[in-house]
């Protein structure tokens, strides 16, 4: 369910009108989406879900409580406010309570495309038809998911803040497999504008990889030079910045950015000099939400600049306590790319592997951000500057912190989607990385 800015503001005012608390926050969000899902070259579970959520947070002194609901009727909204107030009254005082913000200045939002919002189920099916036709013609099995959605969100406080944002997103992922089960290829990405998405092209890439990856060769595990395509890179960078870049954790001695003897590594060069990662909600490739969780404006933030750790996320309480500026979490991420084409990366590789994407990544050790996961849907052996044969899948045990010290070439930064997406738009380059730890072989295709 989508509310316009005016409707969201009216609803927020109405809810704030029920409030008897000292201060109050009203957060609204809703979504309308459509998808076709397919496997074995045919449609499976197609749908058009719609949802809405209203969250009210009430405060009395340093006590706070919140309640969320989905019912927009006046009675239900009043009950929701009362419920959050009951919860707040019963909560002990939180010494870290921060009062809600007043009006803020926000940059204009982008990331909305009328074409995406207007797309019908017929359009989605029509876009997928040639993919399935091509798969049948090539005697391959295609599976995938094409989804378009429009979402809105708003954040208002009893101190006069109100911000609204509306965005669209299209997600397309396609896996193609050979009937004998020995080859599998994948392609996929997101875009806010479905008309800019080359759906048939992704199908072609997935099918080409499926054919070329047939009957892979089993190789020994070990440290490999790898070319990681954007999907694989996006997973590692998203997890690193989105989940590990935390100032408080570093100051408290419990994350990778903790300094021996106390304090954080902020300002130190801990990554390769060729690494720069930032968030910019106004970025043209990956526009992000203009506000962060607690209503703070989302602004351009450098996380890593030429290898220097520039910023860690920092909540308002911790910023106040430590005498720093708060740093809201990212609503979008960009890793600055280079100019090396994948073909050139292959040419300059004596022995290495080209990796399409990763799967099932989990943190093994928070101290070093050691992650484990697997390659999937297209791994190719490179020998003496050429792709020579398909290779088996591997389990990796590697830390993105270590990896960002071993990047030797980068392609242009492009919008990407990985299975471990942290739910914000991300743009990353293809990376050529040395000494990437592949710890065992997987028989999976």
């Amino acid at each position: 369910m989508i509310l316009s800015e005016a409707d969201a503001q009216d609803l927020t005012k109405k809810i704030l009108g029920y409030s008897q608390a000292e201060s109050c926050i009203v957060a609204l969000s809703g979504n309308e989406s459509r998808h076709v899902r397919f496997a074995q070259n045919m449609a499976t579970t197609n749908g058009a879900p719609s949802s809405i959520s209203i969250t009210v947070e009430s405060h009395f002194g340093k006590r706070s409580g919140s309640a969320s609901g989905s019912d927009l009727s006046d009675d239900a909204l009043a009950a929701l406010v009362a419920s959050s107030e009951n919860t707040a009254r019963l909560a002990p005082e939180n010494p870290e309570f921060m009062p809600p913000l007043g009006p803020q200045k926000y940059a204009p939002g982008s990331g909305f495309a009328a074409a995406t919002q207007a797309a019908t189920s017929v359009q989605l099916a029509t876009a997928i038809q040639p993919v399935l036709k091509q798969a049948q013609d090539k005697n391959l099995q295609a599976a995938g998911f094409l989804e378009i959605g429009t979402g809105f969100s708003s954040f208002g406080t009893s101190k006069g803040l109100f911000v609204y944002s509306q965005s669209t997103e299209a997600l397309n992922t396609i896996t193609a497999r050979t009937p004998d089960g020995t080859g599998s290829g994948w392609a996929g990405t997101t875009h806010y504008d479905i008309s800019k998405m080359d759906i048939a092209g992704m199908g072609t890439v997935a099918m080409d990889k499926a054919v070329r990856s047939q009957k892979p060769q089993k190789l020994a595990p070990g440290k490999y030079t790898v070319i990681l395509e954007p999907s694989a890179v996006s997973d590692l960078i998203g997890i690193l910045i989105g989940e590990q870049f935390d100032q408080r954790g570093a100051d408290e001695g419990r994350n990778f950015a903790t300094k021996k003897g106390g304090g954080s590594l902020l300002g130190e060069t801990i990554f390769g000099k060729n690494v720069t990662i930032f968030s910019d909600p106004a970025d043209l490739v990956v526009p992000g939400s203009i506000y962060s969780d607690d209503g703070q404006p989302a602004v351009r933030t450098a996380w890593i600049e030429n290898g220097v750790l520039k910023n860690l996320q920092c909540g308002r309480y911790w910023a106040q306590k430590s005498g720093n500026q708060p740093v809201p979490g990212p609503t979008t991420l960009t890793m600055v790319g280079g100019t090396t084409s994948t073909a050139d990366m292959i040419k300059q590789t004596k022995k290495g592997l080209l990796v399409t994407r990763f799967w099932y990544i989990r943190e093994v050790d928070p101290q070093t951000v050691l992650l484990t996961g697997l390659t999937r849907d297209g791994v190719f052996l490179i020998e003496n500057g050429e792709i020579t044969k398909p290779a088996c899948n591997f389990r990796f045990n590697e830390s993105p912190v270590a990896m960002l010290n071993k990047v030797v070439a980068m392609g242009p930064s492009v919008r990407a989607y990985g299975e471990e997406s942290i739910g914000i738009p991300i743009s990353v380059p293809t990376l050529l990385v040395n000494d990437f730890t592949l710890s065992s072989v997987s028989d999976a295709v």
């Binding site: 239900a76 896996t175 028989d443």
Partner: protein, 504 residues
């Protein structure tokens, strides 16, 4: 004090109102040509409380109501959902579901066919002694703070404790005549302590071993969180000084607080029929367990018996009917029998594709706005019928590791290659438990691993573990699922050292 808003909203939609909406949805679907349709109207009530150290970080409640209409139109599925449970909106959603199905018909190479479905008029309520939503919030907060207090007192630098509670009220109606109401509750505790060594810049954590359960607050009261928190602080401190593991082959004795997750990943998921049919190829993956292996594959040693059920007390998948409206009473079935793979888990419209007759009741939708897909029932490793304790298993290990709790976990998309960490690792030397180890993870391949199992505990060692958030499907759905387990002994498993010296 019961949440006033909760009561008010719960009473808003009574059974006759739901019946009326169902009749409208199914009527519209039928008039527009659906050969099958169902209507699910659900209400999810939730509460989340989180304490960090001595403070309450969050106290929140949630109430989400909405419905979905699902139709099968000339062999093509379509569904639509809405948070507005009004007659007009129900009509609109039913028409929208038809439109989605119609639009997708151009992609329907093979039509979906459903088995004959039975009609039920029933109500099922999870038995429960203490409803968590009726327990005063102050009691729950006091409990959380006391857990952290115990950890901090025992030397933890940081402590987090949280309780999440969910109540599902589901109403299901289908075009074959079923009208089913169901209610169940989940109680999901989580705790963790952290200790810091400032001088070395090292830290260690120890997460609690309590499992999420399909239980009431009586479960929370029955678990000694305070005692565990104090012990956890000591153990985390011990981890900082523990011996780093030498990589190599070890015999492993896996505690059920750990083994349930290995069962989930390497037995639960590979035996899902939709994966075998290729329907999850683009996301969750396929499986090595192809239909030609049914009744033949020696999945594990003869000690391995794995049962699927929806009836186990405390099970997160325990319920009267699945989200396809298939009755679960008496539907327990073996997945692995004496080591042989004997059954898949199935939703409706699947059994015929492998020459079987009907679903075995394994459908679930994680929300009112989701399509019911095949998800796990409770999938549990059965105890050894002969007496066998944990000590008995350890006593026959010369060079091994005993692992408790879950650390990291990962498995490939066909469910061969896995890697698991843990919370606590202890050396086993000549049949005796020794000191603590760290940096341990083991890797294995599913069939080889389960065939290396040469000892399992008896029923006195049984523990019901589980996960609240198993992911599958597109759009992704997260399902709660339980796994009963007993300790198992596995021979000559590959163990690696996870310490990285090249970072920071």
């Amino acid at each position: 004090m019961r949440n006033a808003a909760a009561i008010e909203m719960a009473e808003k939609l009574d059974l006759p109102a739901k019946m009326r909406l169902a009749d409208i949805a199914l009527g519209v679907a039928k008039s527009l040509g659906a050969s099958y349709a169902d209507f699910r109207l659900c209400r999810y009530q939730s509460e989340y409380l989180e304490a960090k150290e001595h403070r309450l970080e969050e106290s929140s409640t949630g109430m989400s109501v909405g419905f979905a209409v699902r139709v099968l139109l000339d062999g093509t599925w379509g569904y639509a959902s809405s948070p507005l449970a009004t007659e007009d909106e129900v009509k609109k959603a039913a028409a929208n579901a038809i439109e989605v199905a119609k639009a997708s018909q151009s992609l329907q190479l093979r039509k979906f066919v459903l088995e004959d479905l039975k009609s039920y008029q029933d109500r099922w309520d999870m038995p429960m002694t203490s409803d968590p939503f009726l327990v005063p919030v102050n009691d729950k907060i006091a409990k959380l703070l006391s857990i952290n207090e115990a950890a901090l007192k025992a030397g933890a630098n940081y402590a987090t404790a949280s309780f999440a509670f969910v109540r599902e009220d589901k109403f299901f109606a289908s075009s074959v005549g079923s009208r089913i109401e169901q209610t169940r509750v989940r109680s999901m505790p989580e705790t963790e302590v952290t200790v810091i060594d400032k001088d070395t810049g090292k830290f260690a954590t120890r997460a609690g071993l309590a499992a999420p359960r399909g239980s009431g607050y009586d479960y929370i009261l029955s678990y000694d969180f305070v005692g565990e928190a104090a012990k956890a602080a000591d153990q985390a401190r011990e981890k900082l000084k523990a011996k780093s593991i030498a990589p190599g082959k070890y015999d492993l004795v896996l505690d059920p607080t750990h083994l349930w997750l290995t069962i989930h990943e390497s037995v639960g998921h590979p035996t899902e029929l939709d994966r075998a049919l290729g329907w999850e190829a683009n996301f969750a993956g396929t499986t090595f367990c192809t239909p030609d292996k049914l009744g033949k594959l020696q999945y594990g040693s003869h000690l391995m018996n794995v049962m699927a059920d929806r009836s186990q007390e405390g099970g997160l998948s325990t319920i009267g009917y699945d989200d396809d409206g298939v009755r679960s009473e008496g539907s327990e079935f073996p997945i692995i029998k004496d080591g042989i793979f004997v059954n898949y888990q199935m939703a409706i419209g699947q059994a015929q594709l492998i020459g079987q007759k009907t679903s075995n009741g394994c459908a679930f939708a994680d929300n009112w706005d989701a399509f019911p897909i095949q998800r796990m029932p409770n999938v549990s490793l059965q105890p050894n019928p002969k007496t066998c304790t944990l000590e008995d298993l350890i006593s026959d290990v010369k060079h091994g590791i005993y692992i408790m709790g879950n650390g990291s976990w990962s498995i490939d998309q066909q469910r061969h290659n896995f890697q698991f960490g843990g919370q606590l690792f202890y050396e086993i030397k000549n049949g005796k438990l020794g000191g603590m180890l760290r940096d341990v993870a083991y890797q294995g391949s599913t069939v080889e691993f389960w065939n290396s199992m040469d000892g399992i505990g008896d029923k006195s060692t049984y523990f019901l573990g589980g996960a609240p958030n198993c992911g599958k499907g597109q759009p992704e759905q997260t399902a709660p699922v339980s796994h009963g387990a007993v300790p198992g002994r596995f021979r000559q498993i590959n163990v690696l050292n996870t310490e990285r010296k090249d970072v920071a």
